[in-house]
Symmetry: C2
């Protein structure tokens, strides 16, 4: 199996995002130098990263934008629409549910769940909030592959467990806790308060920047 270093893999979606912008602007070719400049990285790194999965550049010419976009989409998994379930219909969950950026990038939230009985049956746009008792059945019936957790910290681990049990293998976690999941299940975590704390540390310490300034 093709092995891609973690930091490289984390940059792939950013390359794709930039390349899609070039494509939309009608740019046909881009050099590693230009792409690197746009992303705040070096030409050498761009070439090294892109070389992980083939020879798409043309020496003396650059990278054909359209073809590279296509290849990157395939590599990243954007060649297929992912089916997503969201658990937690609080403020954040409802906003995520309505967020158009997900569908644009091929992630469709097909079902929303909450354990609060007063929320069940209510609507978020066209979607109806369902009870957790229907979770496993819905995941299987709707062929859902990814889960988003937007519940309070204390409930997140239990929700993750239910997701795994229902067959979900990828989880995006917004709850401020570290989740424990079995091997073979991938968790991406976004803790909004942690991001702000990285900012505040960076300002206090006077360090230039921190992790991904994207």
């Amino acid at each position: 199996m093709l092995v891609v270093p973690k930091p490289v893999a984390a940059r792939f979606p950013l390359y794709l995002r930039q390349l899609e912008e070039y494509e939309a602007d009608g740019v046909a070719l881009v050099s590693s130098r230009e792409l690197g400049a746009k992303l705040g990285t070096s030409a050498a790194q761009v070439r090294k990263d892109l070389a992980c999965f083939g020879h798409f550049g043309l020496p003396g010419v650059g990278y054909p934008v359209k073809e590279l976009v296509e290849q990157l989409k395939r590599i990243i998994g954007r060649d297929h629409r992912w089916r997503v379930a969201l658990v937690g219909a609080g403020n954040l969950g409802r906003a995520l549910c309505r967020y158009k950026g997900f569908l644009e990038k091929g992630f469709e939230i097909l079902a929303v769940f909450d354990k609060d009985r007063s929320k069940i049956g209510k609507h978020i746009g066209p979607k109806t909030i369902r009870p957790m008792s229907e979770f496993a059945r819905t995941v299987r019936g709707e062929h859902i592959e990814l889960g988003v957790i937007a519940v309070p910290a204390r409930e997140a681990q239990a929700v993750a467990k239910q997701m795994v049990k229902a067959g979900i293998r990828g989880i995006l976690n917004f709850a401020p806790v570290r989740l424990t999941v079995p091997e073979g299940v991938t968790v991406c975590a976004v803790d909004l308060a942690v991001e702000l704390q990285q900012l505040s540390f960076s300002l206090k310490s006077g360090e230039p920047a921190l992790p991904a300034a994207n």
Copy 2:
């Protein structure tokens, strides 16, 4: 100036989060081994990281939780309440505005702005949406230090520019674009669709996990 490696700085808020949980549970002492296990890292790394800013551990005993929480708060900048302005009162902006996790961690959103005239004057909880024309004045008048950008991609750079001009030195950016800012300004970026793409890549490639599983 004390220099902290970037990956270490990115872990500080996670240490603090875990230590606050220990504190809430009434745990007085914790070893690097225990803390590492909780965070999915090694005891050696915990010791090395914490040693960046002093000698808080007691050899043969462990780390005093309460004292370490206090120190970490000071280091990270959680000893002071940060004053935040949010621009963009769409779905995401409204959810962020209502998100209680920010205030709990010492980040207070004092003002919300939007350029859409139909939104101005409306309320998000107790906050009134203000026009961008008042931005600079409000930032100065309210002593705002941090900005959150929750506007569409095409408007984000212009908003960042206004923030910098108004004196803001730390920006949390939710728009899916890379922002260009002058030296001395820190940007943290959260692109929700990028996170999902890292998940989908990880699933497709069969790689164990990706960036921070927190």
